[in-house]
């Protein structure tokens, strides 16, 4: 009961602020609306008892990514305070595409049989996640860090050239 209420409240927060993100004419407001969206998703993670992922979600997405986006907007010339148009002339076409995608997704989701995972959740998810990163998922983990390193170096090179 309480869990359902929490789910509904969190979903409303997430979806309402997500709508503001894609409709607001002011891109700073759009960027700031990402914060409640991310926090709503954090709440959903907590409902799923994935508390470590929830903490990381706040730290990385709400705390860092949003700040990065705001920072870029505010440093970009003419980015702030302008009435930016978020829709173009292709509204009907876009709606059609979205409706088709939604239909396909609903069909897939309702058609799939969702098996209940066997076993119980670990009491403490941080340690198993860390262990998986360094044992069974080590290749994925290392390649991801390599990609991040490359993008980091790319950013530095771009910043250097402008001088």
């Amino acid at each position: 009961m309480g869990e359902l209420a929490a789910f509904i409240i969190l979903s409303v927060i997430t979806l309402a602020s997500a709508v503001v993100v894609v409709t607001s004419g002011n891109i700073v407001r759009s960027a700031l609306s990402l914060v409640p969206t991310f926090l709503g998703i954090t709440g959903l993670y907590i409902l799923l008892q994935a508390e470590f992922v929830a903490g990381i979600q706040v730290l990385i997405y709400a705390g860092a990514i949003t700040v990065l986006i705001l920072f870029v907007i505010m440093l970009t010339e003419g980015g702030t305070g302008l009435r930016t148009r978020q829709v173009n002339e292709q509204v009907p076409l876009g709606m059609l595409a979205a409706a088709v995608l939604a239909l396909i997704l609903i069909a897939v989701f309702s058609g799939t049989e969702w098996p209940k995972a066997s076993g119980s959740l670990p009491q403490y998810t941080a340690a198993p996640i860390g262990e998986a990163f360094l044992t069974s998922a080590v290749l994925i983990f290392e390649i991801t860090s390599l990609v991040l390193l490359v993008s980091l170096m790319g950013a530095i090179i771009i910043a250097r050239r402008e001088r």
Binding site: L32, V35, E51, G55, A62, Y124
Partner: protein, 322 residues
């Protein structure tokens, strides 16, 4: 799950009121008074002296004055964001305290991701500061907000590195677990001195205090991101800032100074003695050092603290594994 939701919600509201009152009185009001008294002492002045005995009621009077003041919203400001920004800062400062253990059992909630939660909440402050700086529609405020974003994002990394080193040593992210580990093995300031130094420098930068107070540098930016704020909204920014500073001190106490542990005196007294010692240290730094330049500030974080911190994590890992 057998959770009594109305009871939980009632408890949450009651605890919020208690914590908010605690923060407003102990951190903001007492903190400002201490700051002025210690500042006066360091600069051979008297500090506030006239309101109440030895000026003890000065900040109470200031708070009453701020409560009565008019809210002024600049004409060109983005009203919604302008009004929301102080709340974000104050709430983020408040949330930090959820995972601080004052004494055995005296903690709002012993989360098993305790210090991660703390870092996450501390990182939310910057959104409030950036939003306030932008919404004021004032070049000084915007510059302050941008400086704050650059600074806080850079110093979150060394801060997190300090937290990770302690978490590795204790083998847990729970603040209560870390204190218990220190009661068994001795204070972590002994084993984790480099992590402590990195943490303290990064924490000073995270709470925008001198020598890292570029976001609000009075002499360059008027007051930075909160130039346009008046009355209680200004007070909320101050409250958030002091709550955050005291929370950093409380976390440093918990992580490195053994939290509530100590002989003879009750645990909660020990906790406050240690916390105020670190608060004093923050204030001592503020009145002793001049402000850094922006490039020095960023170089310190990226070229010194972060590599040193990563090296220390490597050493800690080696020590634990072998």
């Amino acid at each position: 799950m057998g959770v009594n939701w109305p009871l939980e919600i009632g408890r949450a509201i009651a605890l919020t009121v208690v914590m908010f009152t605690f923060l407003a009185v102990v951190t903001a009001m007492l903190g400002v008074l201490l700051e002025r008294k210690i500042g006066g002492w360091i600069q051979s002045r008297l500090g506030p002296k006239h309101v109440g005995p030895q000026g003890l009621l000065q900040t109470v009077a200031d708070t009453i004055k701020l409560l009565q003041k008019e809210h002024i919203t600049p004409q060109a400001a983005d009203v919604v964001i302008f009004n929301a920004a102080p709340l974000i800062v104050a709430v983020a400062g408040l949330m930090d305290w959820l995972v601080i253990p004052f004494a055995p059992g005296a903690i709002v909630r012993d989360l098993n991701i305790g210090i991660l939660f703390f870092a996450a909440m501390a990182s939310m402050t910057v959104i409030g500061i950036l939003a306030g700086g932008f919404a004021s529609n004032n070049k000084y405020a915007l510059l302050g907000g941008l400086r704050s974003a650059a600074q806080m994002v850079s110093y979150e990394l060394p801060l997190a590195v300090g937290l990770i080193a302690v978490a590795m040593e204790a083998g847990t992210l729970s603040t209560v677990g870390i204190v218990n580990a220190q009661i068994r093995n001795g204070w972590y300031i002994l084993y984790q001195l480099p992590a402590f130094v990195i943490f303290m420098i990064a924490a000073t930068a995270e709470v925008n205090r001198v020598p890292f107070d570029l976001p609000e540098a009075e002499s360059e930016l008027v007051a930075g991101y909160f130039s346009e704020y008046t009355g209680m909204r200004f007070a909320l920014f101050q409250l958030g800032e002091y709550a955050e500073m005291f929370a950093m001190a409380a976390l440093a106490t918990t992580l490195f100074l053994g939290g509530w542990s100590g002989p003879i005196l009750p645990p909660v007294v020990w906790f406050f003695i240690k916390m105020y010692a670190i608060v004093f240290f923050f204030m001592w730094m503020r009145w002793t050092y001049p402000r850094l330049r922006l490039d020095q500030l960023l170089n310190l974080s990226w070229k010194l603290l972060l590599p040193a911190g990563l090296l220390w994590i490597l050493i800690t890992g080696y020590r634990i594994a072998f």
